[in-house]
């Protein structure tokens, strides 16, 4: 009965298993955030201490400005990071890039109409332009039969150019500085205070706080819809969810957030905060809720360290925030828990070591079976990767593993022999090998000399459960196709 193998409950051993939501997700997230904030605050304290006059004590130091700067950065980055997760998941990061450039003319027009650079008109104008960018991109791609990236490139550079022209031509007298919109001025934003009767909070905190709140409401309200549309748009359409509504509302939100974030990080670096934390979080986890949490965390850490580093080096806060976000992405690419290069390398290494050491005991077992006995070496087990230098390391580690498991021991003559434990392990392995050969021989039309190689690979992945299933399937066949006895299972 073919359908009994591979059985449904056995995961494919060759495929990396996706990390499940484990309790340590929360723990590591909190730890990362705590370490990030802690280190950042220590660095900040140290920096502020450096500016004190001798007679001042740290108690009197003015932390207000740096803390508000960081707060503004955090508000911006968290809102961007949350929305950015969906952009990354929907493979639309570049549309985020395009929109944040394209809102420029909307901003200019809103300013020309209302004479101010804040409040609802600007927010709504930006949202409209965000939707327009997306619509135009799709319309040109469809009508002109050009690829989506080409039409996106045409649309956003044109709108951006239009915005620059509008600003330079008509808004000269006003306080609207193209450079400020592009790069932001977070230091200025944090020191621009309203006159006394108001709450002691910098002006720009209100719109940023509002947009973060709006983002949170949006994400919570449309949680299910956003999730399904992000992972399976076809399913979403089949369920009767309006994919276009979710798409355009997301674009509108991105545009709105970009515009409110201009103060802090500027239009170009908004994209960094939209894309990079989300991309980083996707390397760390497979669950949407955790991805959002991680993205927000990465955004917060970027804000804190971006400020600290910028203050230390005397440079642009927004630029350093992007750099810190990039450093975190690099960290995740290398050290990410499951998809990271390092953990993938380690996984492959440990597999190679296991296979190499198992090959040794299986060989010793067969030699015992034949009545011959020679010493051991791990040579030949890692042959393929020998020349890269990895081979020798695998050999070394495999020997270590053999001794550590007490699978082999030196006999009186100095020869390495299987111990009892080693023999048991080896017997199971040889049993797996021969069961698999027999199974292949009964169920597949393969020449006899093709069986060994397949079994040589498969023997390392047949756990006792599968072996029992194979045994039942083969109904007590005692020898393999080459006539060798299949060792019985040992308790």
């Amino acid at each position: 009965m073919m359908e009994r193998f591979p059985s449904a409950k056995t995961p494919d051993p060759l495929k990396p298993r996706a990390p499940a939501a484990r309790p340590w997700q929360a723990l590591s997230l909190v730890a990362y955030l705590a370490v990030g904030l802690g280190l950042g605050l220590v660095a900040l304290r140290w920096q502020v201490e450096g500016t004190l006059r001798p007679e001042q004590s740290l108690l009197w130091a003015d932390f207000t400005s740096p803390l508000w700067t960081i707060a503004i950065g955090v508000l911006t980055n968290v809102a961007c990071a949350l929305l950015g997760c969906y952009l990354v998941l929907r493979r639309m990061s570049l549309l985020g890039d395009a929109i944040s450039h394209a809102v420029l003319p909307g901003l200019a027009i809103a300013f020309l109409l209302t004479g101010e650079l804040s409040g609802w008109p600007m927010f709504l104008g930006a949202m409209a332009i965000g939707v327009l960018t997306s619509v135009l991109t799709q319309a040109i791609a469809k009508l002109g039969k050009v690829s989506e990236d080409t039409s996106m490139g045409v649309v956003f550079t044109s709108l951006f150019a239009l915005g620059v022209v509008l600003i330079m031509a008509f808004a000269k007298r006003a306080h609207i500085d193209a450079e400020c919109i592009l790069f932001g001025n977070i230091d200025w934003a944090s020191t621009d205070w309203p006159p006394p009767p108001y709450w002691p909070v910098p002006r720009s905190v209100w719109p940023l706080g509002f947009s973060l709140l709006l983002t949170l409401v949006y994400v919570t309200l449309f949680w299910k819809e956003l999730k399904i549309v992000s992972f399976d748009p076809a399913l979403a359409a089949a369920m009767g969810l309006s994919v276009p509504f979710i798409h355009y509302s997301l674009m509108a939100m991105v545009a709105g957030i970009s515009v409110t974030s201009f103060d802090a990080v500027g239009s170009i670096l908004v994209v960094a905060m939209l894309v990079v934390p989300g991309a980083t979080a996707a390397l760390v986890t497979d669950r949407l809720s955790w991805m959002l949490a991680w993205a927000a965390t990465f955004g917060i850490v970027s804000a804190v360290f971006g400020y600290v580093l910028a203050a230390a080096l005397g440079t642009s806060v927004a630029g350093m925030m992007a750099v810190v976000a990039g450093a975190q992405l690099t960290g995740a690419v290398i050290l990410g828990p499951h998809y990271g290069l390092a953990s993938r390398w380690l996984r492959n290494l440990s597999l190679a070591v296991r296979i190499a050491s198992e090959d040794v005991i299986a060989r010793l077992y067969r030699e015992e079976e034949r009545g011959a006995g020679s010493g051991f070496g791990v040579q030949g087990s890692g042959g393929r990767s020998r020349e890269s230098g990895v081979g020798t390391m695998v050999e070394w580690l495999a020997e270590f593993r053999l001794r550590n498991n007490h699978w082999v021991a030196a006999d009186a003559g100095g020869q390495q022999r299987l111990t009892d434990a080693g023999r048991t392990a080896a017997r199971n392995l040889v049993r797996a090998h021969r069961l698999w050969e027999t199974y292949l021989d009964t169920h597949f039309d393969l020449p006899r000399d093709h069986l060994h190689d397949a079994a040589e690979r498969m023997e390392h992945f047949l756990d006792p459960e599968l072996q029992a299933e194979l045994d039942a399937e083969l109904a007590g066949v005692a020898t393999d196709p080459h006539g060798k006895a299949i060792p019985r299972k040992e308790e």
Binding site: S93, T150, V154, L162, V165, V275, S316, G319, M321, V323
Partner: protein, 429 residues
């Protein structure tokens, strides 16, 4: 009269547009339009680092730095895509912004330095400053343009293959990755040379727009390259001239907006893929199909009656889902093609002319053969059937055509002129 300075700028920007347009059309074809954008942003930190290292405005060093960091950015993007779980769009977005952020940070640091910041003139790399262009810059642009042209001329066949059919190129054993990198390096060169003139954000427009606009006019790579070069040249020329005339306006955005205008016009009017051209093609095609239907109806009416029969608008409307206007329109096109003529006695009725009858016979044969073929081999429908073609012979082997013909004859559905007047249907040999 144009001033000398203006002439220099005009020449420089036009040449820049030509070379960027030519290499950029490859980026458009490779569906890498936004990689050019990433490149131009990624070039900034290299530019600043080179400046910091040289401590002065040393153009070759800065260009080299920009080129190096731009190409590094492209390589990181492709490494992220190949070896990690980061998808292409996120990889482009991340590299673009992180590199640019680093560039901005370096720029801010440089501007604060004593005695250095003022002479850096690095600002112009963000928005571009065409006005500052010198003769040396023009020579540099020309040199880079000629270099790109020579490279494309030498590797024309290779670039053609990786642009249109990369799997084919791979199957020939060509170093596709290297060729791709070389192509991107050419794009990077154009970007880096163009940065001071139009700035980081808008240089990608110069890369994309000429190629994308030229694509509407031709299907051949060689023509496309020439045309995008010409378009780029024209965009640079017109944009610079406009911004010089309008005085108040910055050159970079105006150049881009001229490119936009060119793109929109090409999208509408392009002879090969333009919206109007495709619409006209579509209408012509619909008329051809409609005429064929009309002739077939005329033939079948004669076939049923066994003698020539007059054809009126009403007869057409009752057989098809055509509106009366559509039927009249088709009748008049048939008349002007000489297939039908009005009957003297009744001006609203038409009869087939001899040439129209030949045509009608061919149309009916073609259609019935196709129908028989599709009924016999429905699984072939997707791969071979092209109902737009009148003759089945181009698509189906002769033996099959013979078999289908015999089949139609046996079922007495093979249209033929013989026995029209005398034999009632059913007696065909």
């Amino acid at each position: 009269m144009l001033k000398y300075n203006t002439l220099v700028v005009l020449a420089g920007v036009s040449l820049l547009g030509a070379s960027a347009g030519m290499v950029g059309s490859f980026a458009v074809l490779r569906k890498r339009a936004l990689t050019g954008d990433a490149l131009s942003h990624a070039a900034l930190p290299g530019l600043c680092l080179a400046f910091l290292f040289m401590r002065e405005r040393n153009v070759p060093a800065m260009l080299l730095g920009a080129l190096a960091s731009g190409v590094a950015g492209i390589m990181i993007i492709s490494a992220l895509r190949r070896w990690t779980r980061v998808r292409e769009d996120a990889a482009i977005g991340s590299v673009l912004t992180v590199f640019f952020g680093a560039g901005i940070a370096l720029l801010a640091a440089i501007q604060k330095m004593e005695g250095l910041g003022s002479k850096a003139g690095l600002d112009s790399y963000i928005f571009g400053k065409t006005a500052g262009m010198t003769r040396a810059d023009v020579y540099l642009i020309l040199l880079a343009g000629v270099f790109g042209l020579v490279a494309v001329a030498i590797l024309y066949k290779e670039f053609l293959s990786i642009s249109f059919d990369i799997d084919f190129a791979r199957s020939l054993g060509w170093p596709v990755y290297l060729l791709d990198l070389l192509l991107m390096s050419l794009v990077a060169l154009a970007v880096v040379i163009g940065l001071p003139a139009v700035g980081v954000v808008l240089i990608s427009a110069l890369l994309i727009m000429p190629g994308a606009a030229a694509r509407f006019w031709t299907d051949r790579l060689s023509t496309l390259l020439v045309l995008s070069g010409v378009f780029g040249f024209g965009v640079g020329l017109v944009g610079t001239w406009l911004s010089a005339t309008l005085d108040q306006l910055p050159a970079g955005p105006i150049i881009v907006l001229s490119g936009t205008a060119l793109f929109v016009v090409s999208m509408l009017l392009g002879s090969q893929r333009g919206i109007v051209a495709r619409w006209i093609d579509q209408r012509r095609f619909e008329t051809t199909l409609g005429l064929r239907q009309l002739l077939k109806i005329a033939w079948e009416r004669e076939e049923a009656a066994g003698r020539p029969v007059a054809l009126a608008t009403g007869d057409l409307v009752s057989r098809k889902t055509w509106s009366e206007a559509r039927a009249n329109q088709l009748l008049s096109s048939a008349q002007s093609a000489g297939f039908v003529r009005p009957i003297a006695s009744d001006i609203s009725s038409f009869e087939l002319t001899p040439s129209g009858r030949d045509e009608a016979l061919a149309a009916t044969r073609g259609q019935r053969l196709w129908e028989a073929f599709l009924a016999e081999y429905p699984e072939q429908a997707g791969s071979t059937a092209n109902l737009a073609s009148l003759s089945i012979e181009d698509y189906v082997p002769p033996a099959v055509v013979e078999q289908l013909t015999a089949q139609l004859r046996a079922a007495n559905r093979w249209p033929s002129r013989r026995g029209r007047e005398s034999l009632p249907p059913g007696d065909n040999p």
